[in-house]
């Protein structure tokens, strides 16, 4: 290595290049696969893991799919090295959605990390967990976000706000209210960093939920300058939308200025002193802004251009002004005032997006005389990067279209630099032609003269077009412009003589068209110009330019005195040159000759007729079929004209063909419509304004005053929020419920899946009234809620114990003042475990195999589940040697699962996954046989692959695990149950709602029996038929009416087979006896993934009708 530092310069430079790359990851990017990555991932050294992960990322960066390493990468999530963790997270987020099952394996580590004392670890875990995008873990992630939204670290709260859109993106309908609540909580945060992220979440989740903004509007405005720049951009938009929805547009603003004049009376009525501004406006209104366009712009902002333009086809709706009730006045409205005050300093922001957003808010809301303060900051943005320059220009153009006077004094800022990109140049030209006025036009024209000589001919052509536009707008300059343009035409046509550069042709065409637009304004004045153009036909060689001039011959053929006299000569010339023209020009010649013929005077008619006939003959035999078609069409149309003599033409006016011809060719030009086709306006600063169509997710401003803010809402809102807080926390509520329940007397009955204790009993009514303590604390909550909440948040982190005081009480609990306790009779005999099909007779040539999970304990190990397999021969021939074997016994099973499961229970690893059954020697037709197998599932969701042997054949079958049987009953008393439950709050508690209808049939059948009891029975039956649980207790509400069962609560307990972790299930019932009941199933378990899956399973089977 050191030999390289030789004497020659070459080796030195080589060496320095090597030195530069030492220590970087260059070799990893260049050659990521030069070593075997898999063993590195399993290495026990952090540095090797790190290297392997870097290699994987290099492959990702280069676009290779390395998702096959997923299982090995996932288990490294447990690493303690922050770098490994970071790299694993990067990898996980890239592939999680594709490998959901394996991704689930990492959840427990996230859960662990979420409780880490290091805020960075918590934030990373939260970001990754929310980013994994799996529906299964959404409730978990939501709970995590809820917890982190109250984290003491700002950074974690900020990440929580960022995580909300991720959850929202999963389209979880049932969690939408909870997400909205969280947005509200984060918006009310006192740290500006969090508020910014919350504003972003608000924009993407619930942009129209103005209630959330209304609560803290003033605070949001005050905090706005301290929010970081990215948050400011979105927060400004949000506040603007809120003010429009709440108060409507501002009467004094530019948006409504066009209506202001019609509504003069209404100012007086309000008694406002706006006369000053009004007078000023009256004076130079026509000059300062385009009233039509302004109202169009404001309508577009409110309704969105697509709706507005489609609606405006019916003229009567266009004129409908904004209802005066939907507007507000700046002098009266505090909210508007604050918005304007807090956004105006942001015009000085370093971030161009913030400046534009602030300018947009001022543009829409500020009173007319204040709008001008957005001009300079906007113009300053033109000194930033090319990319932002372009976007800003697009927006300034809209402002300038509506109010050219704002930008008119600053025309120099739009002068073109040689380094501008073409699009920027084009926009600047458009801008200049928009804002040019009598005082600035001379300097602008002088600039334009320079531009015409620019080497970029496309830009020069655009300049010529801009000159035309300027001349059209300003009545004083056309003559000067025309002279210049004519000179240009002469010069260009001369240059074009020698060399036909595409760009130059463009300039010439544009020049002719600009002249045409100017002439159009007042053809009579410019008769001489027209004649000059006709004369220049000889020298102009560019087809498009010729076509335009020839078209003008047709249009202005009867204008003035001189032109009609020239017509014969010109037409003769055209006929003569017809053969050598391009087809574009030929078509124009045909049209023009027809027009000339129509308007011909009597003297020339015969002559012209002959020329036209000649042209038509030429046209008929043209090479281009377009020209031939046009010729035939014209010939037919003109047949009457061509047939008649000069005298007839006056006489036969009645002829209908005459009228048609007259109508087609004799029509004069329509006056130019002021509205150019480009009149789609979108909100300033939006993407839609740049691409000129409504991008998905674009929303115009809300309808003015569509949001009614009710004062009493505020109260109920805070109530609701508190409830949500409590609900999300879970811990307080449940622990409190526990206390209440615990104080009553129970004599619970115990049951165990297979045999029920049969102590039938009656109800003992416990009479515990509302605890007075609770009421006191409730008062505390409502008065000093803020403080308590933050304290609770801290509590959550400092000790995970349930809080000691009952701070809140839920509505549910207040309803249930008393409980009774029951036992259920022997229903063990009625428990019918569900059976599943392993092999249906169709694919098994008559052999049907079903299996049922048994609640018995396995004799081999606690991890095994007993499954009863029922073989039935449906065919007519006997089936021999039936057996079930583990398919994977021989193969190496998936290493990841093996290791991960194995970690938890190493000592079981040598136990086979399948305890085989006794082989069935022969199964006669219609005979059936039962066999018992014991299975150990690798994962609670993944099916087990088995091989079914019969008649010497091997058929692969899948044995699907039933989650309900991967637990075992765990007998405990109610007190123990409640104690365990209180240790598993927050993250470890999740619930789901479902409906239940089994009892309806049941209770009708056994009319004599108590309805409550039968409901209990049917629920218990349902649960125990589908899972292996222990019934701890049943709480009955003693309600006023016997029909209402709301408050009925069943508790089941169990342990997860594989890990011996206790799992508690609580089912709470709502509804009436005779109707479909609503159940809330709640699970408390440390193993959250398993718990969630079981929860879903329970919710599913509760809904299923019983077989």
């Amino acid at each position: 290595m050191f030999n390289q530092f030789g004497s020659t310069a070459e080796t030195l430079s080589k060496a320095s290049a090597v030195v530069n790359r030492i220590g970087t990851d260059a070799h990893l990017y260049d050659d990521p696969e030069d070593v075997n990555i898999a063993p590195l991932l399993d290495s026990k050294f952090e540095s090797e893991k790190c290297e392997a992960l870097k290699r994987l990322l290099a492959l990702i960066a280069q676009g290779f799919d390395v998702s096959n390493f997923f299982p090995q990468v996932v288990k490294n999530v447990a690493s303690h090295s922050s770098e490994v963790k970071k790299l694993v997270y990067l990898y996980l987020l890239h592939y999680a959605e594709r490998r959901p099952n394996e991704a689930l394996l990492s959840i427990n580590y996230f859960q662990k990390d979420l409780g880490d004392p290091n805020p960075l670890v918590r934030a990373w875990a939260l970001r990754t967990m929310a980013g994994i995008r799996l529906h299964v873990i959404a409730p978990l992630a939501l709970a995590a976000v809820g917890k982190c939204a109250r984290d003491p670290a700002v950074y974690v709260r900020k990440c929580a706000a960022n995580a909300l859109p991720k959850l929202h993106d999963l389209r979880l309908e049932e969690h939408a209210p909870a997400i909205d609540e969280l947005v509200g909580i984060l918006l009310a945060d006192h740290s500006p960093g969090v508020v910014g992220a919350a504003a972003a979440a608000f924009t993407s989740i619930c942009p129209n939920n103005f209630k959330l903004i209304g609560k803290s509007y003033k605070k949001l405005c005050q905090i706005l300058p301290d929010v970081e720049e990215w948050g400011q951009i979105l927060l400004i938009g949000t506040l603007l939308r809120y003010v429009v929805a709440r108060h409507g547009l501002v009467r004094e603003s530019l948006m409504l200025s066009s209506h202001g004049l019609d509504n003069n009376g209404f100012y007086e009525k309000d008694g406002l002193v706006i006369d000053l501004t009004l007078d000023k406006r009256d004076g130079d209104k026509s000059d300062s802004f385009d009233a039509n366009l302004v109202s169009l712009v404001s309508k577009c902002y409110i309704e969105g251009p697509d709706e507005y333009l489609s609606r405006s086809n019916c003229p009567d709706t266009v004129s409908s002004a904004f209802d005066s009730k939907e507007t507000t006045s700046i002098s009266h409205n505090e909210d508007v005032k604050i918005l304007l005050q807090c956004t105006s300093p942001l015009l000085w922001s370093n971030n161009s997006a913030v400046v534009l957003a602030a300018a947009g808010a001022q543009w829409i809301m500020a009173p007319l005389e204040d709008v001008k303060k957005i001009v300079k900051p906007l113009l300053f943005l033109l000194r930033s990067s090319t990319a932002s320059k372009y976007v800003v220009l697009c927006n300034i153009l809209v402002f300038a279209k509506a109010a050219p006077s704002l930008f008119a004094p600053h025309f120099e800022d739009f002068f073109i630099c040689s380094s501008d990109a073409y699009q920027v140049k084009a926009h600047k030209l458009e801008m200049l032609s928009l804002i040019a006025n009598t005082s600035s036009i001379s300097s602008i024209l002088r600039e334009f003269e320079d531009y015409i000589k620019d080497p970029d001919r496309r830009f020069a052509a655009d300049t010529v077009a801009a000159i035309g536009l300027c001349a059209k707008r300003l009545s004083t300059i056309p003559t000067t412009c025309l002279d210049g343009l004519l000179a240009l035409v002469r010069q260009e046509s001369f240059a074009g003589d020698l060399e036909s550069v595409d760009g130059d042709a463009g300039v010439l065409v544009q020049a002719v068209m600009s002249i045409q637009t100017i002439i159009e304004l007042d053809p009579l004045c410019h008769e001489k110009v027209i004649i000059q153009l006709f004369r220049s036909l000889d020298s102009i060689k560019v087809a498009a330019a010729r076509a335009t001039i020839i078209w003008m011959v047709g249009v202005y053929c009867s204008l003035g005195h001189i032109i009609p006299k020239m017509l014969t000569t010109v037409t003769k010339y055209l006929a003569w040159s017809f053969k050598s023209e391009a087809s574009e020009t030929k078509l124009q010649i045909l049209n023009t000759s027809a027009k000339v013929l129509i308007s011909a005077e009597v003297d020339d008619f015969q002559m012209l007729k002959r020329i036209v006939v000649y042209v038509l003959e030429l046209g008929e035999s043209d090479l281009s079929y377009d020209v031939r078609d046009r010729t035939r069409f014209l010939k037919k149309l003109l047949s009457c004209k061509l047939a008649e003599t000069a005298e007839d033409s006056v006489a036969s006016q009645e002829n209908i063909a005459e009228h048609v011809v007259e109508h087609v060719f004799g029509r004069k030009l329509k006056p130019f419509s002021p509205l150019t086709p480009q009149n789609r306006f979108y909100l300033p600063g939006s993407l839609s304004q740049i691409v000129l169509h409504a991008a998905p997710g674009y929303e115009p401003l809300p309808k003015p005053c569509s949001f009614v803010f009710e004062e009493h809402d505020q109260l109920s809102d805070s109530d609701r929020q508190r409830e949500a807080t409590a609900g999300l926390h879970g811990s307080q509520e449940s622990s409190e419920t526990v206390d209440e329940d615990g104080s009553s007397e129970y004599d619970s009955e115990s049951s165990n899946g297979s045999d029920f204790s049969s102590d039938v009993d009656d109800r003992t009514i416990s009479n515990d009234a509302n605890d007075p303590l609770i009421q006191i604390s409730e008062v505390a909550v409502s008065t000093d809620q803020e403080e308590l909440r933050s304290k609770r948040a801290l509590d959550m982190w400092l000790d995970e114990q349930p809080s000691t005081s009952n701070q809140s009480s839920s509505a549910l609990d207040r309803n249930q003042s008393s409980y009774a306790k029951i036992s259920i009779g022997d229903i063990g005999s009625r428990v019918k475990p569900k059976s599943y099909t392993l092999l249906d007779p169709g694919s098994g040539s008559g052999l049907k195999v079903d299996y049922t999970f048994l609640s018995e304990f396995s004799t081999v190990s606690p991890l095994h589940v007993c499954v009863e397999v029922l073989f039935e021969n449906g065919s007519t021939e006997p089936i021999l040697e039936v057996n079930l074997e583990d398919e994977e016994a021989a193969k190496v099973s998936d290493s990841a699962e093996q290791t991960l499961v194995g970690k938890a229970n190493v000592f079981h690893n040598n136990v086979p996954t399948l305890i085989p059954m006794e082989e069935i020697g022969c199964l006669e037709p219609r005979q059936s046989a039962k066999r018992l197998i014991q299975v150990r599932f690798h994962h609670h969701l993944l099916p087990m692959r088995l091989t079914l042997q019969y008649n010497g054949k091997k058929v692969p079958v899948k044995l699907r695990p039933d989650l309900g049987y991967l637990v075992k009953p765990f007998s405990m008393s109610v007190e123990e149950f409640l104690a365990t439950e209180s240790r598993l709050p927050g993250m470890f508690e999740y619930s789901r709602r479902c409906s239940f209808a089994d009892h309806i049939e049941d209770s009708r059948m056994e009319n004599g029996k108590d309805k409550f009891l039968s409901i209990c029975e049917s629920i218990t039956l349902k649960v125990l038929s589908n899972s292996n649980l222990y019934l701890v207790s049943v709480d009955l509400p003693v309600a006023n009416t016997l029909e209402v069962v709301t408050g009925l609560r069943l508790r089941f307990s169990s342990k997860i087979l594989s890990s011996e972790i206790p799992l508690l299930i609580t089912i709470t019932v709502e509804g009436k006896c005779t109707e479909v009941l609503n159940l809330t199933v709640k699970i408390n378990c440390e193993e959250t993934v398993f718990g969630l899956n079981l929860l879903n399973r329970i919710a599913n089977f509760m809904v299923e009708p019983s077989s």
Binding site: G23, A61, G63, Y155, K166, W348, N350, Y390
Partner: protein, 415 residues
């Protein structure tokens, strides 16, 4: 919000992709983008917002590297563009420049930075001081360490304190033995001289750049002697708006190290330090060119590194140019650069020579624009003067320094 960020090399190779949300963007979009930019040329490349068939694309180009961001929904386009600029700034700060090799060699750092800077398509931490604490920039020491020990994590274990503070741009409690503050006025002169040799527009774009190494939590105020010349300004987030609004004083808690405190604009200047007198006459296919450059109004300091560059028109087939001072280079893309350096005392630099036009062309009808470059140390041509810089609580030893310089920005002289 943004869905994906791609980094493309100047040959169109995708160097890096970072998916930001669950809606993955296939990298085939880059192939589409590159095809378009080849077929449509420069005007496409300079388009920052593109509506592709499947996504909206935002692009910026920095030092040959194209940063491409994709979105499918409405979002403020400037936010995406500003963010990409910020990413480019941070990367070139970390890697000490920006080019294909640097990005590839340090791709892990790029990934880590991107992951920290944006979360779910919304910017998360963009403050350089915080980022530096979270992810250590590669330097010689860490590189060597990683070679020797084979293991040097550049990811910090702890959350930077700045994330929670109300001044996120400043790390809490930096310590320096010597407290130093330097203020630089860096100005650029934008001017347009039209074909009649009139000064159409002349203005200054300036920046107040600071370098602060101060212990603790300093509160600075900076005031100008003549703030009224400022036409317009933009501030670093640390500047408080109130004091500026009321009496034009900059009051702020500075970030640590180098930063741009404010940028400003001074309009309607009357004079330029240099003049350029170009002349072109063309006749029968030959153009005679002569360009004079000289001092118009002496700023009192030396004008350095004067350059004049222009694009030869396409219709020029060959050029024969010489000068009495400095060197002339003509690149293959017809860009001609005349490097003058300083104006000599004894003569006026003059470029002269002939251009041969393509056959058939009698005379030139398009004319090039000359771009002037220069640098003057020690003076701010806008006339803006700093009055004083105060620190609320004075540390024992404080060094203050002020400097100024002016250089040419967009200085166009049309012919």
């Amino acid at each position: 919000m943004l869905q994906c960020i791609f980094l493309l090399s100047d040959s169109g190779e995708v160097m890096l992709e970072k998916q930001l949300t669950g809606h993955r963007v296939d990298r085939s979009i880059c192939a589409w983008f590159w095809d378009q930019s080849i077929s449509q040329g420069d005007s496409f490349k300079s388009l920052p917002v593109i509506a592709s068939p499947t996504h909206y694309l935002f692009q910026i180009v920095r030092d040959g590297i194209t940063f491409l961001a994709c979105s499918q929904v409405e979002m403020p386009p400037l936010m995406a563009i500003e963010f990409l600029w910020r990413v480019a700034d941070v990367l070139s700060d970390y890697l000490g420049g920006l080019n294909e090799d640097l990005v590839k060699d340090n791709f892990i750092i790029v990934y880590e930075l991107l992951d920290e800077m944006i979360d779910n398509g919304f910017p998360l931490t963009t403050e350089p001081s915080i980022l530096r604490e979270m992810i250590a920039p590669p330097n010689l020491v860490s590189k060597m360490l990683s070679v020797v020990t084979g293991n040097a994590s550049n990811v910090s274990d702890t959350l930077p304190s700045g994330t929670g503070s109300c001044v996120p741009w400043r790390p809490t409690d930096p310590k320096y033995s010597s407290n130093e503050v330097y203020v630089d006025l860096v100005e650029e002169m934008d001017a347009i001289v039209n074909r009649d040799a009139e000064l159409v527009k002349c203005e200054i774009y300036g920046e107040v750049q600071m370098s602060s190494q101060l212990t603790g939590f300093p509160d600075l105020t900076l005031s100008f002697a003549n703030p009224s010349v400022l036409e317009d300004m933009r501030f670093h987030p640390c500047v408080r708006f109130r004091p500026w609004e009321s009496h034009q004083v900059l009051s702020f808690v500075p970030p640590d190290g180098q930063f741009k405190l404010m940028s400003y604009r001074v309009k309607k200047l009357k004079n330029t330090p240099l003049y350029v007198k170009p002349q072109i006459t063309s006749d029968s296919g030959i153009c005679r060119v002569s360009v004079l450059v000289g001092i118009r109004s002496d700023p009192g300091k030396t004008i350095e590194s004067i350059t004049l560059s222009f694009q030869l028109p396409h219709c020029v087939s060959s050029a024969d140019l010489s000068s009495n001072h400095g060197t002339i280079t003509i690149l293959s893309n017809m860009t001609c650069t005349w490097t003058i350096g300083r104006i000599p005392k004894d003569k006026t630099p003059c470029l002269s020579g002939t251009l041969a036009l393509e056959t058939g062309l009698e005379r030139l009808h398009v004319f090039p624009t000359f771009k002037l470059g220069f640098k003057i140390m020690g003076i701010a041509l806008s006339g803006l003067r700093i009055e004083k810089l105060d620190l609320k609580t004075l540390p024992p030893r404080l060094y203050k320094g002020f400097r100024a310089q002016t250089r040419a920005g967009e200085f166009d002289v049309r012919l």
